[in-house]
Symmetry: C2
DNA sequence: CGGCATCCAATGTGATACTG
DNA sequence: CAGTATCACATTGGATGCCG
């Protein structure tokens, strides 16, 4: 008979992952999702499925390479689903998976933080630059 | 006399910042904070001031270069304060500023997301690798 | 339309050595 | 203790050209 309940095992498993530990796989995952393009893509997918070109227009300035690369990685990691509709020309839709929807609010929060605090950051920078490094 | 109230001006200023726009300064800020070391440092400062060596031990595997560089940038951006205590040897403490405390919960959320969803991501990866790219 | 392959310049990052 | 400086290397990312 079990000496641990399922809840206990889950708690232990959760505690076993710590991104402060260099070798922990979560460190690499943290690195992957700590990415400008990831947050922009997940934010862009907030309101439902989006086509490739639609995404590239929304996320202004993203290169084909980076958009495709980011989408592939997100797909592989199970955060985004890719749906190809046979037609001429081909139609490809990207959509958040249930897993992706758990990360999306966090990514939106980062993007929003940048947008709402940019002025305070810029003020801090000019203060720093004036007092310290001439 | 003003045709806008202060609240209206603030609302307009807020709407003017959009990280989806390539030239928006928030895009660069988003890139800066979307960084593995930033999230780890802000998470490590959750419980109050920490000394340099304390941080380097907590954030296992971080190089001196990256830790110093990250702390300098965070300091310049007004997210972290640096306090030098004259002594032998010197003592330097880093602490979140009020501005830094507004970003800290978001950074902790990313780190936590990675830790709580790593297994689902790994499952998704092996599924993807088995079905697609042999 | 939605990619992929390649080249290459710029940047990021770690290891190492040294210092007030 | 808390850095700085330098070098070597890896990674990033844009530009370009081609394709089903």
């Amino acid at each position: 008979m079990p000496t641990q309940t399922a809840a206990e095992r889950r708690a232990e498993a959760r505690a076993a992952y710590d991104a402060f530990i260099a070798e922990c796989p979560t460190r690499k995952l943290l690195d992957r999702i700590s990415d400008k393009w990831v947050s922009l893509v997940l934010a862009a997918l907030t309101d439902g499925p989006r086509r490739y070109n639609d995404l590239s227009r929304t996320i202004a300035g993203v290169s084909q390479k980076m958009l495709t690369q980011t989408l592939r990685t997100l797909e592989r990691d199970g955060l985004v689903s890719r749906t190809v509709t046979a037609a001429v020309p081909v139609r490809v839709d990207y959509e958040l998976t249930p897993l992706g929807r758990t990360l999306q609010p966090v990514m939106v929060a980062i993007k929003s933080w940048a947008e709402t605090h940019i002025e305070q950051v810029e003020t801090a920078r000019s203060t720093y630059d004036r007092s310290n490094h001439a």
